[in-house]
C-alpha cells in the first residue's frame, strides 16, 4: 500500500516538475517582494519589489543576491554555504518556511515571490532573525552524548562503541538536523508558547535518547516533561513537512513521548544489557 502511494507521489512530483519547467520557459524574470524592516532606526515594516532575471537553475537565494548586488545593497540577509548544509538562509518564501538556497524559483510556479523573515523568531532586520531563543531551547535538552563510563583515558575497553545498523537507524535521521529553524517557525505551538522547546529541540532530545551510546536519561528533564514541554505537541505535522533534510521532528517527538509513557521498548535497557554482555565476553 505504502509502495503504491509512494509511486503516485513520485508521479505527481514528476508532473509538477514538468509544469514548473514549462512555466519557466515562458518566464525570463520574476518579481521579488522582500520584507524590509529595521526597528533600530525606526524603519517601519514594508515590502520592496525587485525585477530579477532568472535562469533554469536560479534559486531564491540567487535572486535575492542579484537584488542585493544590483538593486539595493542594504537588503539584510543571512546566508553561507548555498547548498542546504549550514541552515542560515531560512525564511518564509511565499508564506512557507524554506531554505532560500534550496528553493528553485521554478518550483514555486509563481511570477511573484515573496520573501519574509521566519516567524516565531525575534526580528533583527529585514530577513535576518535572532536565533538566541531557538539555541537556548536546543541547549536545554543537553544535545550531546552523556555516558558516565566513557572516560577514554583510563578505560581502554570503552575506546569504541559498538552499534548495529539497526541501532544507528533509530537516531540517524534525527542527527541530520542543520538547525535552520524552519520547523520552529512552522510550529503552531511555538507560535503561542515561548517556553515550548519546539520541534527541533525535542527531536534532538529523541536523537540522543535513542542513541545506545548515551546513558543519560532526558525524560525527567523539566524542559521536556513539563506542561510547556513535550505534552504541548499536538501533532500538527508542520515541522516535518517543512524540514529540508528529512529529519521528521514530529516522528521523533511522538516516539519520545511513547517512550516516556512506556509504550515503547526501553532501548537503553537493551543497550546496557548488550554492553554488559559484550564486556563480559572481552574480559
Amino acid at each position: 500500500m505504502s509502495g503504491i502511494i509512494k509511486k503516485i507521489s513520485m508521479l505527481r512530483t514528476g508532473s509538477k516538475l514538468e509544469r514548473s519547467k514549462k512555466s519557466l520557459r515562458a518566464r525570463s524574470s520574476i518579481v521579488l517582494r522582500v520584507y524590509r524592516a529595521n526597528k533600530a532606526i525606526g524603519d517601519s515594516a514594508h515590502y520592496d519589489t525587485f525585477d530579477v532575471p532568472i535562469q533554469r537553475w536560479t534559486t531564491v537565494l540567487d535572486a535575492l543576491l542579484y537584488a542585493k548586488s544590483y538593486k539595493d545593497t542594504s537588503i539584510g540577509i543571512r546566508y553561507s554555504c548555498r547548498m542546504a548544509s549550514c541552515g542560515s538562509c531560512g525564511m518564509k518564501i511565499n508564506g512557507i518556511p524554506r531554505l532560500a538556497c534550496y528553493t528553485n524559483v521554478s518550483e514555486l510556479e509563481s511570477g511573484v515571490i515573496s520573501c519574509e523573515p521566519l516567524t516565531n523568531f525575534p526580528l533583527i532586520r529585514d530577513l535576518v532573525t535572532d536565533f538566541h531563543q531557538f539555541f537556548s531551547h536546543h541547549k536545554s535538552v543537553r544535545p550531546y552524548i552523556i555516558n558516565q563510563n566513557a572516560d577514554l583515558r583510563d578505560r581502554k575497553e570503552l575506546s569504541e562503541f559498538i552499534q548495529s545498523p539497526r541501532e544507528v537507524d533509530e537516531y540517524l535521521q534525527s542527527s541530520y538536523c542543520i538547525k535552520c529553524g524552519l520547523c520552529y517557525s512552522a510550529c503552531p505551538t511555538v507560535a503561542t508558547d515561548t517556553k515550548f522547546p519546539g520541534p527541533q529541540a525535542l527531536a534532538q532530545a529523541y536523537r540522543y535518547s535513542a542513541d545506545t551510546r548515551d546513558t543519560g536519561s532526558r525524560e525527567d528533564m523539566k524542559t521536556i516533561d513539563d506542561k510547556h514541554g513535550i505534552w504541548r505537541c499536538h501533532f500538527a505535522g508542520s515541522c516535518s513537512s517543512v524540514c529540508p533534510k528529512g529529519v521528521d521532528p514530529a516522528l521523533g517527538i511522538q516516539l519520545l513521548r511513547g517512550h516516556m509513557m512506556s509504550f515503547s521498548k526501553h532501548n537503553k535497557k537493551i543497550a546496557e544489557l548488550k554492553h554488559h554482555s559484550h564486556g563480559n565476553q572481552t574480559t
Binding site: M1, S2, I5, S9, T13, A40, G95, I96, P117, T119, N120, F121, P122, L123, I124, T129, D130, H132, Q133, S136, D169, E170, Y171, L172, Q173, S174, A186, C187, P188, V190, A191, T192, T194, K195, C233, H234, F235, A236, G237, S238, S240, S241, V242, C243, K245, G246, V247, D248, A250, L251, G252, Q254, L255, L256, R257, G258, H259, M261, F263, S264
Partner: protein
C-alpha cells in the same frame, strides 16, 4: 551566552514575543497539508463542543424547574436553526472523537513507522498514509453522521 538584563531586541529570550505568529499561527491551516488541517479542525471542534457542553449543562439543569421549564427549554432546538445547530454538534462530536482516537495512538508513537535513512525528496515518515487515512475516515464519518442526523431532524414524522 547573552545575559538576562539586555533590552529591546536583545532582551531575555524567554520573554521575547517579537515576531511570534500567535493565534494566527493555528487559525490559518492552509499552508502545511492535511495534518495541519486536522489539527485546526480538532481545536475548533473542541472549542465548539466546550461551548455546547456548557449550554447543555444549562439546558439540562432546567429539569429542576419541572416539566414546563424543561419543555420550554426544548423549544430552542425545535426550530430549523436549532436543528442545524444539533447537526453541527453531531458532526463536530463525531469528528473530534474519531480523530481523537487516531491521535491517542499517534501521540503514543503508534502508526508512525520506524525511523530510517531519509532519501530525497525527504517525504516525512510520520505524515504517512495511515495518518491521512485516519483524517479522511474522521471527516467521512462526520459527514455521514451529519447527513443521518439531518435526515432524522428534517425528515419529519
Amino acid at each position: 551566552m547573552r545575559t538576562s538584563n539586555r533590552r529591546g531586541l536583545f532582551k531575555t529570550a524567554e520573554e521575547d514575543r517579537n515576531n511570534r505568529e500567535g493565534l494566527k499561527g493555528w487559525l490559518n491551516p492552509s499552508r502545511y497539508g492535511w495534518e495541519r488541517v486536522s489539527y485546526w479542525l480538532q481545536r475548533l471542534t473542541g472549542l465548539f463542543l466546550l461551548i455546547y457542553f456548557i449550554g447543555h449543562i444549562y439546558e439540562t439543569s432546567s429539569l429542576t424547574g419541572g416539566a414546563g421549564a424543561w419543555n420550554a427549554m426544548l423549544q430552542f432546538t425545535e426550530t430549523p436553526w436549532g436543528h442545524l445547530f444539533l447537526i453541527l454538534v453531531i458532526g463536530t462530536s463525531t469528528y473530534h472523537s474519531t480523530n481523537g482516537i487516531r491521535l491517542i495512538f499517534t501521540e503514543a508513537g503508534r502508526g508512525l513507522g520506524r525511523p530510517g535513512r531519509p532519501d530525497y525528496p525527504y517525504d516525512a515518515l510520520s505524515l504517512n498514509y495511515r495518518q491521512k487515512s485516519g483524517i479522511w475516515i474522521a471527516l467521512i464519518l462526520a459527514a455521514v453522521a451529519m447527513f443521518y442526523g439531518g435526515n432524522v431532524l428534517f425528515g419529519g414524522d
